[in-house]
């Protein structure tokens, strides 16, 4: 009989699962972890649900850091953000193996082991997604001067990209909303950023876009169009680097002047006036 621990699909959830699975003392061969929500029950398995527990997860994570090194801890944290049905079990196996090695730090190089390789690949994938979003996030300026962006990433990258933007725009109020997970990273000007859970986009009372916003969007679309060389046109290459799934959150691929009553001319005027007022 195999005991399957069903844990929540977060780093905390999975690490709690690791703790509980080990703590059950059934032997590593007799336990399995899963984090996918799919209700596909197997025969000859007992299922146990794992409640995420920050304390247990913290213990596991600190042990990993101490015994297997920062790199392994990083690998696990990044891999946990990526969607994959086998990742929870792979993390468990990797930790088991790492803690049994004389030098746990070796584990990162053991690419011959399938679980380690999976974690390694997932880490890379999560990082790639995060890196792409660092470029593809598009902020809108709101009436109150704050910046707001929406993303729809397949991996949970919010916590990976937020530090980057916090460093980049320290003096701005900004927020990035993860539409899939209903989660937001919020950064008040000059302060630290934080994550907000259970943010429902529909119930948010959003201020309108600022007056300059449509003008800058138009400038950007104009620039984007002008910078391509017709003689070298290669839409396939463009799509390889920038797949269609990203495009609906990006300003330059949205239809011209869809929203907002602020006409083009008046927006330009408005921007000019604002500049004059500043002086």
């Amino acid at each position: 009989m195999i005991r399957v621990f069903r844990c929540e699909d977060t780093l905390t959830g999975i690490l709690t699962g690791v703790y509980d699975a080990w703590d059950s003392r059934l032997g590593h061969a007799n336990v399995r972890l899963t984090s996918s929500a799919v209700e596909n029950l197997e025969l000859f398995c007992e299922y146990t649900d794992v409640e995420p527990d920050a304390e247990k997860a913290g213990k596991v994570f600190r042990t990993v850091e101490r015994r297997m090194g920062m790199e392994a801890a990083d690998m696990i944290a990044y891999a946990a953000a990526c969607p994959h049905e086998k990742k929870a079990d792979a993390i468990y196996r990797m930790i088991v193996m790492g803690l049994h090695l004389p030098d746990g730090r070796e584990i990162c190089h053991m690419l011959t082991c399938p679980e380690v390789r999976l974690i390694f690949e997932l880490r890379r994938k999560a990082w790639h997604i995060a890196h792409r979003y660092m470029g593809f996030v598009r902020f809108r300026e709101l009436e109150n001067g704050g910046l707001f962006a929406v993303i729809e990433p397949e991996a949970d990258v919010l916590a990976m990209i937020a530090p980057h933007f916090a460093d980049r725009l320290p003096l701005e109020h900004w927020a990035i909303l993860d539409r899939i997970r209903d989660r937001a990273a919020v950064h008040p000007a000059g302060k630290n950023w934080f994550l907000l859970d259970e943010v429902d986009e529909k119930s948010l009372s959003m201020p309108a876009d600022s007056c300059e916003e449509p003008y800058f969007q138009r400038l950007w679309r104009g620039f984007h169009r002008a910078v391509g060389i017709e003689e070298r046109e290669n839409r396939r290459l463009q799509q390889a680097f920038l797949p269609l799934k990203f495009r609906h959150i990006m300003t330059e691929f949205q239809d011209q002047e869809s929203q907002d009553g602020c006409g083009d001319v008046s927006a330009g005027e408005c921007f000019r006036m604002a500049k004059i007022c500043e002086k």
Partner: protein
């Protein structure tokens, strides 16, 4: 006599004209410098660079790539902005460039500014304007993102130096690979004048490294280094000449990058070649591949090309081409070969070579694992053994390997020109056959 139609232009028109004029410049990278925000401004840089968008030609857009002005006094044959062309002209003011950059940067459209310029009035005046713009952006607007600026050949070294402290990367375009071509197509430009600012920046950077070793907070001079670019296919030079020039720039001028840009015929001029098949994109692609071999794989130009074979085989990448001519060095045993030897195997890149070296210390490898680690077995299989065995029996003969390398259903990179001269026979190829 000076004719100049003065016309009030709004920012939108100017941006379109000057972005359009700058689009032939290829160096749109934002890499090479890691800088945190100081807490009091806008922007940071990360060493890997970030691509923010991709244009319709598939090139990355990471910087706001604009000319400061396209009112150029030069008359270079290949350039869209040459004096004798009738194109709309515009100039930004430093204020406008700053507003645009900050507006785009805050919305995360761009990673920084790429500021180039036509020569307005004189090189000195132009460089001074660029310098003023950067000063305003850095000091008044507190911009700490990436800035790539052109050094104008012939400008006063003092202004170049001032600009260097404000920019992250500087570049001077060599334009054409040889001096003779330059004399024909850009008579007002001289190679020696172009090399002067490159040398100046290089020397200043060396001194700056010393200063930084002594004082950690000393101002940094062009921290992301220099780059340059050459137009490919505008004059009749061979790949060997181009690559030699590039290697020279890497070795003796410490260039970070040399860019190659396939010549696009924007002007009708008798001195320019006609390009019925469009810009030589595949040639450009092969040159970039060779460029990587020079920088990361420890190859030299003489190994890749020779006087007898001055051009690359467009159907085969330069590394395969090299390996086929040096079959005496193969097969390589993956479990034992050193890193440098692994790097020279077609199908094994820097990453997979590193992974092999790491992983074989802790276990034995097999072909399945190699594939999983990112080795392209389609190419590598002819050149390696793993644990003393080949994956399947292959003959180490040039013809055999060449046929098999080309045999795959691999799509030749964009712009391959013509299809190979053979095709699959079909039962219904008979011309007398009709439905």
């Amino acid at each position: 006599m000076e004719y100049r139609i003065v016309q009030e232009m709004d920012l939108m028109q100017k941006l379109e004209i000057l972005a359009d004029a700058a689009k032939y410049d290829v160096a749109c990278t934002s890499s090479g410098v890691d800088r945190k925000n100081t807490g009091g401004g806008t922007g940071n840089c990360i060493a890997a660079g970030i691509c923010h968008s991709f244009s319709s030609d598939g090139r990355c857009i990471s910087l706001l790539k604009i000319l400061f002005t396209n009112e150029c006094i030069f008359d270079c044959k290949y350039c869209i902005n040459r004096r004798s062309n009738d194109v709309p002209r515009a100039s930004f003011t430093p204020q406008e460039v700053c507003d645009l950059t900050m507006g785009f940067y805050r919305r995360n459209y761009i990673e920084g500014l790429f500021l180039s310029s036509g020569i307005i009035k004189s090189p000195d005046a132009t460089m001074e304007l660029l310098c003023q713009t950067l000063y305003k952006l850095r000091r008044e607007y507190g911009f700490q993102g990436y800035i790539h600026v052109k050094a104008i050949p012939g400008a006063d070294p003092a202004i170049v130096e001032r600009t260097g402290y404000l920019a992250d990367r500087m570049s001077v375009n060599l334009e054409l690979p040889t001096e003779e071509a330059l004399q024909i197509l850009a008579p007002q430009k001289q190679r020696s004048k172009m090399l002067a600012p490159i040398r100046q920046v290089q020397q200043r950077r060396t001194e700056n490294r010393q200063e930084l070793a002594l004082y950690r907070h000393a101002p940094r001079f062009v921290p992301a280094g220099q780059s340059t670019q050459m137009i490919i296919g505008a004059s009749g030079e061979s790949d060997l000449q181009i690559l030699k020039t590039a290697e020279h720039m890497y070795r003796s001028y410490e260039m970070k990058r040399v860019f190659y840009s396939a010549f696009v015929r924007v002007n009708d001029d008798s001195l320019l070649p006609a390009l019925p098949g469009g810009p030589p994109l595949l040639r450009e692609h092969r040159l970039y591949q060779a460029d990587w071999l020079l920088r990361f794989y420890g190859f030299h130009t003489e190994e890749l090309l020779s006087e007898e074979r001055p051009d690359f085989n467009v159907f085969l990448d330069p590394k395969c081409d090299w390996a086929l001519r040096h079959l005496e060095l193969f097969p390589v045993e993956v479990m034992r070969a050193d890193y440098q030897t692994l790097l020279k195997v077609p199908g094994i890149g820097v990453r997979s070579a590193q992974r092999i070296v790491k992983a074989r210390r802790l276990g034995t490898l097999d072909y399945q694992l190699l594939k999983k680690m990112g080795v392209v077995l389609k190419r590598a299989v002819f050149f390696i053994t793993c644990g003393g065995r080949q994956m399947y029996p292959v003959r180490l003969e040039e013809d055999y390997i060449l046929r098999n390398l080309l045999d795959g259903k691999e799509r030749l990179p964009y712009g391959a020109g013509k299809e190979p001269a053979y095709r699959q026979l079909s039962l219904f190829d008979d011309p007398r056959f009709s439905v």
